[in-house]
């Protein structure tokens, strides 16, 4: 059952050097309960995509200029702000990267969770709010939640803070959770624990997950499908298994190759992707990855490739895929 349908989403942002489309015609879909990983380097547009979905773009600097975002059939881009606000927290939720920054430092964590609980309609009674708050904290495995209600964010460890942020986000049982680099600020062990938590929560509520990250390994563990973003566009997507075993787009391949492997040859060199992401103010005509692509040819440099189907599932925007198919 399709929950989220993003079609040709285009978000334009204005910077000192000029305006450009940070999200340039992005399309993808998410089913109920499914987990989609959105992978890309810094500046690829993945965070902007998330903010566009919930329409929390910086007001003066960014704007959705084209495309649609349908949640259960309803186009979020066309909704008035008041209606959209009602959906936030109750239907769509989002976790941000650094919980130290995303939790308000001057309020207790109890009050911040309770605030989310109180927004539920019909409004819960006061005693119910407290009970719910404790329950939500327990759900994310915060030990002794009742004693911790009066604690402040800085008194918690990074991992626990992120759990609290998760508790706040899912308190009202949203259908979709967007997680924007939720583990980047955590250490490796805590990362694992947090992702396990997300999977557990998903299973309980049949909640869909959009996991945005630059770390492919995490996606493999947690997601059903994956979409790779480069310079504002999705260059490949498909089931996790297929993409990891048989990547089609050269960028995807390069990303996979650059992950250090514990099982590879001992003295194999750490491969890097040559070059740098393009300047979004001066994009190349044609495929945006072509300047760095080891397989680039005249077609790639001349015009942007359409998306071709890949056997095994999904698509890749690459002329070479077109040849193979």
């Amino acid at each position: 059952m399709t929950l989220l349908e993003v079609e040709n989403l285009t978000t334009r942002i204005a910077t000192r050097g000029g305006a450009f489309n940070a999200v340039d015609g992005v399309s993808f879909a998410l089913d109920r309960g499914e987990a989609l990983g959105l992978v890309g380097e810094s500046g690829s547009g993945k965070s902007m995509t998330c903010l566009s979905l919930v329409r929390l773009l910086p007001k003066r600097a960014a704007q959705i200029v084209d495309g649609s975002v349908r949640l259960d059939g309803q186009d979020l881009t066309a909704l008035p702000e008041r209606s959209l606000r009602r959906l936030r927290g109750s239907e769509i939720a989002m976790i941000l990267q650094d919980p130290l920054l995303s939790l308000n430092p001057v309020f207790t964590i109890g009050s911040q969770v309770a605030e989310a609980v109180r927004l539920e309609r019909p409004r819960p009674r006061r005693d119910e709010v407290r009970a719910r708050t404790i329950a939500e904290l327990a759900r994310v495995h915060i030990p002794s939640p009742e004693q911790r209600l009066g604690s402040y964010p800085f008194q918690f460890s990074g991992g626990m803070r992120q759990r609290v942020a998760a508790a706040i986000s899912i308190a009202r049982g949203p259908k979709l959770l967007i997680a924007d680099e939720p583990t980047t600020a955590l250490d490796v062990t805590t990362q694992r624990q947090f992702l396990d938590l997300l999977t557990e929560l998903r299973r309980e509520d049949e909640m869909a997950l959009l996991l945005v990250t630059h770390d492919l390994a995490l996606v493999r563990e947690t997601c059903d499908r994956v979409a790779i973003m480069y310079a504002g566009r999705i260059v490949e997507h498909g089931p996790v298994g297929r993409v990891f075993d048989a990547p089609s787009h050269p960028y995807t391949r390069a990303l996979l190759e650059s992950i250090p492997s514990l099982t590879g040859a001992r003295r194999a060199r750490l491969t890097q992707i040559a070059g740098e992401p393009p300047d979004m103010h001066e994009l190349p005509v044609g495929c945006r990855f072509a300047p760095r692509c080891p397989f680039a040819d005249e077609r790639g440099r001349a015009s942007y490739p359409p998306s071709f189907a890949v056997p095994g599932g999904g698509e890749a925007a690459c002329w070479l895929q077109g040849d193979r198919g």
Binding site: R85, R86, G89, P105, E115, L119
Partner: protein, 308 residues
């Protein structure tokens, strides 16, 4: 936290001491009040007698020592001009200054912060631009001139308020507005700037993501964090107000410490000067400490020693 506060108290005391020392030495070396106190036909011998009577012929260090010893007991000597103990003069006038400075502080805080919040919330609109311009121009206008202009417009031309002196609310309005002028503008700019920072923060974003209505986001989440920054400036404002009070009181003939101080400066009335200086400095130190305490209340991170 306690340690931090005690250091601040100590520093404050040293500062007060320093100020008294500077004033002491400065006064003694500058003009002598003796000439103002004796009849024009006095002989040199008469002048010497007067000097001796006032204890002005002893070495400076000794004079300072005597001053400190007396001051510790609350005795600042007798006014050379009026003949009453300096402390009594101070006591009579403290209330007036507190009334004026208090009114000005409240005024600048309420008006400045509110305007700043409004300007930040409606950033980029005409409201914001107007507020910013008002803030900028307000800070540029010299306070004493504003006072005189207010007198010109409201007291002389429109006759809505009295020209000078202390009395009911109508007497308080013009001086309070004058004194609060600079601080209001400063609060406005500061609040706006701090609020804009806060409004772009991640925790405000999270509050919006939760679905919290916008007005609540501004009034609860954003404001609370902005106040933390504003409080620091509030401490500085006390300093500005205390300094400005000196001038404003003089313009409006407001019978407070500031007026007393400037009059004493003209006549080189040492005891009164010292009393006024010490009092103002101590007041300032105390206010700063109160602000620090407030800071701890508003920001739990300080209370729990999260900052080393």
């Amino acid at each position: 936290m306690l340690r931090y506060l005690s250091i601040r108290v100590a520093l404050g005391l040293v500062a007060v001491l320093g100020v008294t020392m500077i004033t002491f030495v400065g006064e003694r070396t500058a003009g002598s009040p003796v000439y103002l106190m004796v009849a024009p036909t006095s002989t040199q011998a008469d002048i010497e007698t007067m000097r001796h009577k006032l204890g002005l012929d002893r070495p400076l260090v000794v004079q300072y020592g005597i001053f400190l010893r007396n001051a510790a007991q609350g005795d600042f000597g007798t006014s050379l001009k009026v003949g009453v103990p300096a402390t009594q003069l101070v006591r009579e006038r403290v209330g007036a200054t507190v009334e004026l400075a208090g009114a000005a502080f409240l005024l600048s805080l309420l008006v400045g912060v509110s305007l700043g919040v409004v300007a930040a919330t409606f950033r980029g609109t005409i409201v914001d631009r107007t507020a910013s311009i008002v803030g900028l121009v307000g800070q540029a206008m010299p306070g004493f001139w504003v006072g005189i202009m207010l007198i010109l417009i409201f007291a002389v031309k429109l006759r809505w308020a009295p020209v000078a002196g202390r009395g009911g609310i109508s007497h308080l309005v013009l001086p309070a507005v004058t004194l609060s002028w600079f601080s209001t503008a400063a609060f406005l700019r500061l609040t706006r700037s701090a609020m804009l920072d806060v409004l772009e923060s991640d925790y405000v974003k999270l509050a919006r993501l939760k679905g919290v209505p916008e007005w609540l986001v501004v009034c609860k989440h954003a404001l609370r964090n902005t106040l933390v920054t504003v409080t620091t400036y509030a401490g500085l404002t006390i300093a500005t107000l205390l300094g400005g009070a000196v001038i404003v009181e003089t313009i409006f003939a407001w019978p407070g410490i500031g007026f007393m101080l400037t009059s004493a400066l003209y006549t080189h009335d040492y005891p009164v000067i010292q009393a006024g200086v010490v009092l103002t400095s101590v007041a300032f130190v105390v206010c700063s400490l109160v602000v620090d305490l407030l800071y701890g209340v508003l920001d739990p991170r300080i209370r729990h020693g999260a900052y080393r």
